[in-house]
């Protein structure tokens, strides 16, 4: 097992190395002088030359990459040309808000996806199954920015059921930042009102993010339930008079856990990319909105950092999923562990 995990770890390191090479290459071949961009238009030609020397821009590409990789491994991602601060400082400030949003969206999609999937599978070909099929088609075909705008329009602007944009109202004094999670910070500061307001604010953006994944996870659970229902042992349990609820949760739901966990792992990275749009629509001050701002302002260091952070998250989550599945599924454990 340890051998399998270390092999996977090595693979991830290789992929991330390749990704850094790819993105660094693109950032260097684009027209424009990175030194000029870092200094702004007012800097003199001499200053630009000095910075070019410092950034090793006059050296051949492999040398540039070597120096860049060396500072990357020391945790130095350069200075953002837009915020004029080190990119790592920016990331540390903005990541918690996105993490809070994504975790919330994962929670929503897991709960609703499981419930609808189980019901649609158990009552196959009923009106509920048909309706959930229709909704899942729509969920997959609708871009996340359209969902975000529609929800904002209907629930916040028309029905006035939910607050609009941001994490908390601008007028509200934010609690001191400890974890960066607004709801937890509110609790830590003993300000329940902040936590509740933050909860109200997070519902719409989190739901906008979750819709696609509700659709996908619901379909997977449904397929698995339908397949398992045809198994002989389920009929046997029914004949033995075991209660429906017990059959459902103990025997029907269990086989669907493994595909669900796999998909949720994949979904995590896609949540991060869809958050780009949802955070833009809801003015959510998170990592993805920072990424979007960096892209619109052609902030090379920040763009490179953003892509690498997402690649790293993707790799880590996939590794985690593989390990979880190994614990959940004995057949995988035996095959991979070479027991």
């Amino acid at each position: 097992m340890a051998k399998y995990i270390s092999l996977r770890l090595l693979q991830s390191v290789f992929v991330l190395f390749g990704l850094s090479l790819l993105i660094f290459f693109i950032a260097r071949v684009v027209p424009g002088d990175p030194a000029r961009q870092a200094l702004g238009l007012l800097a003199s030609q001499e200053q630009v030359e000095r910075v070019r020397e410092q950034m090793h821009l006059n050296d051949p590409f492999p040398v540039q990459y070597y120096y860049w990789l060396r500072s990357l491994l020391r945790g130095d991602l350069g200075v953002s040309s837009y915020t004029r601060r080190p990119v790592t400082t920016d990331l540390r400030q903005y990541i918690p808000a996105t993490l809070e949003l994504i975790l919330f969206a994962t929670l929503i999609s897991f709960i609703i996806g499981q419930v609808t999937g189980v019901l649609a599978g158990y009552f196959r070909n009923s009106w509920f199954d048909g309706a959930s099929r229709l909704v899942s088609y729509l969920g997959i075909a609708t871009p996340s920015f359209v969902i975000a705008i529609l929800l904002l329009f209907v629930f916040s602007q028309l029905l006035k059921l939910a607050p609009g944009i941001g994490r908390i109202p601008i007028m509200m004094k934010a609690p001191p930042t400890r974890t960066g999670f607004m709801m937890i910070d509110g609790l830590l500061a003993g300000r329940l009102d902040v936590t509740l307001t933050a909860l109200k604010h997070i519902l719409l953006p989190a739901f906008s993010l979750a819709v696609i994944h509700i659709a996908q996870e619901g379909r997977i659970t449904r397929t698995s339930i339908v397949e398992t229902m045809q198994k002989d042992y389920i009929t046997l349990h029914k004949v033995h008079g075991i209660r429906t609820g017990r059959i459902l949760f103990k025997y029907l739901l269990r086989p669907s856990i493994i595909p669900t966990v796999t998909v949720m792992g994949l979904d995590f990275a896609f949540l991060m990319s869809n958050a780009f749009l949802v955070e833009t629509v809801y003015m959510w001050p998170g990592f993805s909105r920072y990424a979007m701002t960096a892209m619109l302002n052609k902030d090379l260091n920040a763009i490179v950092a953003v892509v690498l952070v997402i690649g790293l998250t993707f790799a880590l989550v996939n590794l985690l999923v593989d390990i979880i599945i190994m614990f959940l599924d004995p057949t995988v454990r035996l095959r991979q562990g070479g027991a």
């Binding site: 992929v15 390749g18 920015f145 896609f270 749009l277 892209m295 619109l296 763009i303």
Partner: protein, 298 residues
């Protein structure tokens, strides 16, 4: 002799027609897929004919008429007008032109290299060729396609050409992975072994023996991907990294209209619905093809 070949050709043609009829029969069993096909046919038709059937073809360019600005939907303007008085229905029809064109060009650019690399890696499985191709593929798949496409267009100058190149650049790895898994199992089939024994060239084996057997999954994936590419294209133009105004991209129209919610809801809701409908149509057709070809993992 000549009559015999003629008869053979005729028989082959009849067989092909029977297969097509059978395929259509299977496809038409799913009413949703038939609806998807009808809707798509309509969209393609109006997109091609947009300059002739749009009520105000001039509104697809830079055009202002403040007297007609911000009108709600009416018989004169089916989808209403935007804040500078352009007819949103006409602009939506022209927006479809861009969406469909970008989808087709991206797939044309992305699928061919992906398929060729996948064939090569699958057929030469276990050699350094496979290692190089598939590890490069892994690198491109290490982040969601949307992120990489956004990053690449952002670093280049946002315009139509760069947008298509960026999406194509993140699209080929999906095909090399799909074809890789198909080719690496097909290479053990008897017809491939036979071709190898008779001394067929690698070119012949790759493109004449293996590739024709990959067509069904590739076609299905391409149909589903048209929807996905249009989704990514509309996302790029929504954030301002796609076709630049005043050209009508559906995503840009949604973004423009969203600034004027809730009062002028029509200027964002109709273009948004237009995007959803075309993506939905491609998904429904793709699902139908999946049933016809009996392919699963695409």
């Amino acid at each position: 002799m000549r009559d015999e070949t003629k008869a053979n050709l005729l028989a082959a043609w009849r067989q092909r027609r029977r297969n097509l009829a059978h395929g259509w029969y299977k496809y038409s069993r799913n009413p949703l897929s038939v609806i998807g096909l009808a809707v798509l046919a309509l969209i393609v038709l109006v997109a091609i004919l947009a300059p002739y059937i749009a009520p105000y073809p001039g509104h697809a360019k830079a055009y202002t008429n403040f007297r007609e600005a911000s009108q709600p939907p009416s018989a004169k303007h089916f989808f209403g007008t935007d804040r500078i008085g352009r007819d949103i229905f006409s602009r939506t029809l022209f927006g479809y032109r861009f969406s469909l064109m970008i989808g087709a060009v991206v797939l044309a650019l992305g699928v061919a290299p992906g398929v060729i690399l996948g064939l090569l890696a699958g057929y030469r499985r276990g050699t350094w060729i496979e290692v190089v191709i598939m590890r490069v593929t892994d690198v491109f798949l290490a982040v969601p396609p949307l992120v990489l496409a956004l990053a690449i267009t952002a670093m280049l100058t946002p315009n139509l050409l760069n947008q298509m190149m960026a999406i194509a650049l993140v699209w080929w790895p999906w095909y090399s992975r799909l074809v890789f898994s198909l080719a690496s199992s097909l290479r053990n089939e008897y017809f491939v072994k036979e071709a190898e024994l008779t001394g067929a060239s690698q070119f012949h084996i790759l493109f004449r023996e293996i590739l024709p057997n990959c067509f069904a999954p590739i076609m299905t994936k391409m149909t589903l991907d048209m929807g996905l590419v249009i989704l990514i294209e509309s996302t790029l133009s929504f954030v301002g990294l796609g076709i630049q105004p005043p050209k009508p991209a559906l995503g840009t129209m949604v973004a423009e209209g969203a600034k004027r919610l809730p009062a002028e809801w029509w200027s964002t809701i109709f273009p948004a619905l237009a995007i959803v409908i075309v993506i939905l149509a491609f998904n429904l057709i793709g699902d139908g093809l999946r049933d016809v070809f009996a392919v699963e993992d695409v």
